[in-house]
Symmetry: D2
Subunit: 379 residues, 4 copies
């Protein structure tokens, strides 16, 4: 059967992880149609050729548009910085290519709306689109959603979410483009906050109604490796309280200043019948409290999410043999391929990505208005 | 030497814990002057007599005023519901008695101001007053403050605080007076939120500048054990973001709906050189991340706070033999007695209690104003 | 009602903890008959008088025999070094006093046999005796036994026990009498190993059949604080494998060289239907794995053993407000007083103490015979 | 440059993991010479062809000898059941192929000796051999060894090792060939016990002097899926105490009956200056206790072994983005390729595999001799 050709745009950190996923997905999951790592696109032709070689792509070319429009390409995977997502995605969708686009979907609501519109139109032609909120594919989080849906928590009343990193906690850490609002869009809020906003919706199956926010920039300027001093124009940390449509109360924090926390996505969901807790630093574990147990033996149980019946686990290793960060990307690739094969839309789609963009905008609006509760528009 | 006579007002949960502390303090700590459990006061003469007998007091009487004004009473310890604190405390202070008053200090800022004024006046006469924010005396938290003061965290930039309980998570849990605003003052916010507000000030040695808050009442009416249905007029959960005067960013949550969390005071302090984390459910442990360690061996270390050099530990048991909830009350009694002996004021005093009251008021004001950032007045 | 008079012999570490228990037991537990802290006995009349004053005893006297034989003394609590247990206990039992004796019961099987014989004779006169294996009264361990008895683990197949401390891990730690076999009886094996031997029997309700052991002395001589060098004549660590009568397989380790472990009694029980795990350094927690749960949600659950329905908890504080090391001693006192009131024998009795002595002897015999499996005699 | 051709023999669980490693190693690590997944060998030609297709091999053939002897094959990777290791390995080595052989090396000491001899001879021809004790390549364990070697623990005095699984804890779990001694060689002892024996040597850089052991078979017969009843002829659990040559004391346990433990390789190393602890169920973490810290801030620190400076981590993801089980196999492949490129021998070699076999034999001998201490021969 003719394989599905992939064009991957971008070969930095995200491009490397996606490459590992595309190389692996067909080796562990049974696919309706095999995949082919057809072309890697970048901006510097030499560098992209070397990267293609390293990462296992047939070709590497310096022009993303050429890659995207090739006849032997059926799926376009966008791993570039956020400010180029819209153009690449719309081009690909209009050319009838399925698109997987890294998060955050765009650098503004307007861009995200354009992308979501293009995706909706393309959907009518059987073209699939997917936003790369990969943490949904961590088995422990997929299990969490399943338990919530099955009613194991009863009515969900509270959601707590933190995404903590610490690479800026040292005031002498160097300046980089990620601290420049014009290039990065937002700081901790957009980079990691977007993930927990998406996870809130995923886990509770409910969008946010509104937010009340504060942003902080603790270190106002930093020195670049070349010795020049630059103003930091993004947030170092974002904290906000929020309400889901259902009335559930939520707290969110994204920070790059949480010394000792490396990639700590810490979540807790409290319901009338139980609770769930998760920390990505122990990504193979989910804590579950079943409040219907007799009090004498109730307690948070640490579920090692490595059983064959757990989400995505059937194809991997025996119980207790944990997965790593990159596996969620392989699962994401598999879910996209399944959607393509089945003619169904994989979640999260571009509308879901647009929703996250709107929440980020509401957070910024609220923070600029002294924390006043700000509705999430249009969702 | 003549002992210091104690009058304890109240003999419910708090009265029992304070009794245990007064019985124990002179047996484990070296006191300048011994203490005498002179009189227990309550409202029902028969019940208080039985309680006095059970709890080890010489007498039990049904009139707090009589107890407070006795010549053989030097210290008045107030463990009654919040709405009687002001009258008892002011009476005692004006009579020249040292006062320990349970938290929250009062049910309004106005009351707390009157109490703080009385305490300031009494101080001039060498009379000591102390607010019962007992968690300051948990050795792990006393150690945390010491490490912050020694600069082990560098400049503190973020504070995260949750006080989670779950005794209301079940919508069928019965109504009680604690859910009636006129009797209880506030809900989770006042009851447990007040503790983490105090701990924030204690640990960072800095008051809050302002807050942005949301309150929630998830279950709007409940049935009492007698079958009658009552409206719930207090908050079930309170969430707020805040700024310390120093600029540090904070998040606070108090909840009675956090299924599986029994008395989880979860704190984290992030600084430029390190971080601390604590959970009261493991009260003998403090987690410390030293960011000045080489990255290869850095990590949150679990300090078992049971070494003889740790705060309060010299009088207790060998390393690894943990303390319990009530020990902090014995430490509190010891610190008050030390203040009396030395003529110095133990922390936290009534001004500190007033500060907490002002923060609670600001939280309620902000919540009523859609989360708008609200300064903490007067502090 | 006339109180039960207590004579406590010994006022070092154990005497201090027992004093706290005797002071507290009648204040928190409902007693059939009150207790009176009648007399503290020691060897140095001046020191014991001061100690009696500090610890809350009516009198302190320098002659244990006089204390033990007083008419107003009904219970004798022995907290002296092991080599005096037998004489004091037998004297007290023959005088018709109830006896609580610290562990290990004696320094030899012969002594323990004499004590057990005296206890059996006294029992016929309604006199109670109890060996101070206090960890049985830690609520989490009492709960563990309950779960085992209820069949929640199915058939128990394995028991793992470690008692780890680290006060000797530094080769320069000073010499003390505890390292002299003639005074201390044994090293880690007798001091802490005896506890886990007792806990094995308690938890599985089954004695050991035999053992295969190794002992180690890692540092063969140490310098005393006075500068003199002394040979270490006890074990620094003891490891042994064992079989219970039921066929269950066991591993035991006692060590004073486990750097970083302060008082880590680490236990795990594996059965056909579940498992339990415990670490005294987190003494308010019990981990329970219910293997009858569906694999998708099975996991070790952390039971916070602070619910009112948990063993001993009804008289203490609300859920989540943990207990400390000393509380088990108060529970022990309560269980002894209950036995006295009911005319039933509290566990563990002197026969149970004798059993532990026999296991220790078998361990030493096996170690001396190159680890050959050695039956536990007479039990 | 001509790639190194790989022949993989076996395509069950281990074959699948090794395939993932060979597919990945050249994509993430910089290799001196690329690798080629030349041929997969099995016993059933049809099944192996399909497996080759699935797993990414050029060809699948039903005759291992043919695969091994091909000119385009330079490395033979043996993932078959243990009873065929010797023949395949010796054939490959004599043909001048580098060999990676899964553990345990063989089913007897005699076989392992023949293999080690062949490896030593081949080494003179520049041929490399490696035993597949893959856990050495888990970054946390590689870091542990580094810390031991750097002296961070001082003199190592104790080693504790458990390898706990639970797939047999249910007496009704079905019979399989793994419970037949003639086919499986040994039970828990050989299968998982061999790993912790190897890790002991790896981490302490020291072989065992002797062992004192007990083996247990808790369920003596089981029913196969086809309804026939079979005797279980291997151990369900193995426990042994041991001495390293250095005098360090060790405890080992391998069990398939530890309910709730899925793949729990639990290690602890205690030294005069510190300690390390590890559990494979949290494979990205290493706990380190530095006893040279002041007691007030000493504690086991949880090192998240995901920093770029940690072993093998430079090529993977940013801090906090953990690795999974399979990554150790990729590291193993890389270390073998590095050895081939450099002309140095990767550890562990076949002599190391032979050592493990000798320890297993000593354990069985000791268990058969009532636990008598039994020297490990020849090492």
């Amino acid at each position: 059967m003719q394989p599905l050709g992939i064009a991957l745009v971008g070969h930095a950190f995200m491009g490397r992880v996606h490459s590992q996923a595309w190389r692996t997905v067909g080796r562990v999951f049974p696919l309706a149609r095999p995949v082919d790592l057809t072309v890697l696109a970048g901006t510097d032709a030499d560098r992209v050729r070397r990267a293609a070689d390293d990462l296992g792509w047939r070709e590497g070319i310096g022009d993303w548009r050429e890659a995207v429009l090739r006849d032997d390409v059926h799926i376009v995977d966008i791993c570039t910085p956020g400010d180029s997502h819209a153009e690449i995605a719309v081009t690909a969708l209009e050319a009838g290519k399925h698109v997987l686009c890294e998060k955050p979907l765009a650098t503004s609501v307007a861009e995200a709306e354009a992308m979501a519109l293009a995706a909706r139109r393309a959907r009518e032609q059987g073209v699939r689109s997917m936003a790369g909120f990969t943490y949904r594919r961590v088995p422990a989080l997929a299990l969490a959603r399943k338990l919530v849906r099955e009613g194991r928590l009863g009515r969900v009343l509270q959601f707590r979410a933190r995404y903590l990193q610490d690479w800026l906690h040292d005031p002498d850490a160097p300046y980089s483009w990620r601290l420049d609002r014009t290039r990065a869009g937002a700081g901790a809020l957009g980079d990691t906050g977007s993930h927990i906003v998406d996870l809130g919706r995923f886990l509770l199956d409910d969008p946010l109604d509104g937010v009340s926010a504060q942003l902080a920039t603790f270190v106002e300027s930093r020195r670049a490796p070349d010795g020049t001093e630059h103003e930091v124009t993004v947030d170092d940390a974002a904290v906000f309280t929020a309400r889901f449509r259902s009335g559930a109360l939520a707290t969110f924090e994204a920070s790059r200043f949480a010394a000792g926390r490396k990639n700590a996505i810490q979540l807790e969901i409290s319901g009338t019948r139980g609770a769930l807790a998760f920390d990505f630093e122990s990504m193979n574990e989910l804590s579950f409290y079943d409040a219907t147990e007799p009090p004498g033996t109730a307690g948070f149980r640490r579920i090692l999410v490595t059983e064959p019946g757990h989400p995505y686990l059937r194809v991997w290793w025996p119980p207790g043999h944990g997965l790593g960060y990159e596996h969620a990307f392989t699962h994401q690739a598999y879910d996209l391929l399944t959607g393509i094969a089945d003619g169904t839309d994989p979640e999260p789609d571009f509308d879901d990505g647009l929703y996250v963009q709107r929440v980020i905008e509401a957070v910024e609006t609220s923070a600029a208005a002294s924390g006043t509760y700000t509705p999430v528009t249009g969702s």
